[in-house]
């Protein structure tokens, strides 16, 4: 596929459980970003990977959140011990690299924590 893909599209979990969200960026894009959008809010930056550089984790809201990017391609966002306030749409984006500001977004994963 040509675009950014994310899975699952929807995830319902119970408070306290761990969840993993997956992102497949556009082939050849070296930069990958995670954002989340809570109800009625704008997009909130979480983490940014660029090539082999150390990721920018400055947006992660707590140490329950982590992300990794394997082989410079697929990324997984993990939320441990989920809380109800983690409920949001989690969006992944990719771009051609550090010199490019235009980011291409996936459809998102809607996470609901009961």
């Amino acid at each position: 596929g040509a675009g950014v893909s994310q899975s699952p599209s929807n995830k319902v979990t119970e408070k306290g459980k761990d969840v993993e969200l997956r992102c497949d960026p556009i082939s050849g894009h070296t930069a990958l970003y995670w954002y989340r959008q809570s109800l009625g809010q704008g997009l909130e930056f979480l983490i940014y990977f660029q090539g082999n550089s150390a990721p920018d984790k400055s947006g992660l809201p707590s140490d329950r959140f982590s992300a990794e990017r394997t082989g410079g391609s697929v990324s997984t966002l993990t939320i441990q011990r989920t809380q109800q306030e983690d409920s949001a749409v989690y969006l992944c984006a990719s771009s051609l690299g550090w010199a490019f500001n235009e980011q291409f977004f996936g459809p998102g994963t809607r996470l609901t924590v009961l």
């Binding site: 704008g42 940014y48 400055s58 969006l91």
Partner: protein, 112 residues
């Protein structure tokens, strides 16, 4: 603190008229600005951008204006079409390739 603000949560416009969406920012370090459009259950799609060295950028029906002294940008859509109905987000960044800081969005409704 909200560094990028869209103070109008919604806007309704008649088909064929102009839509003007506004965005204010507080961080004077921002040097690149983007507008994204989002339909329900889809990710945002890039619409148009502007560098801080310019004050206007035009692409078809879409024009973005930047007023650096006022820390204000606006998106003009002329003429508006029903298919333009969506949520519009402005975003800003410092330098190249980094994180985008988004506003809260404005929901545009274009009525036939």
């Amino acid at each position: 603190d909200q560094q990028v603000k869209q103070n109008s949560p919604s806007l309704s416009v008649q088909e064929g008229r102009i839509s003007i969406l506004n965005c204010d920012y507080t961080n004077s370090m921002f040097d690149y600005f983007l507008w994204y459009k989002k339909y329900p259950a889809e990710g945002p799609t890039f619409l148009i951008s502007i560098s801080s060295i310019k004050d206007k950028n035009e692409d078809g029906r879409f024009t973005v204006f930047l007023n650096k002294s006022a820390k204000h940008l606006s998106l003009h859509i002329v003429p508006s079409q029903p298919g333009d109905s969506a949520v519009y987000f402005c975003a800003a960044t410092v330098g190249q390739g980094g994180k985008l800081i988004f506003g809260q969005g404005t929901e545009l409704s274009v009525k036939p």
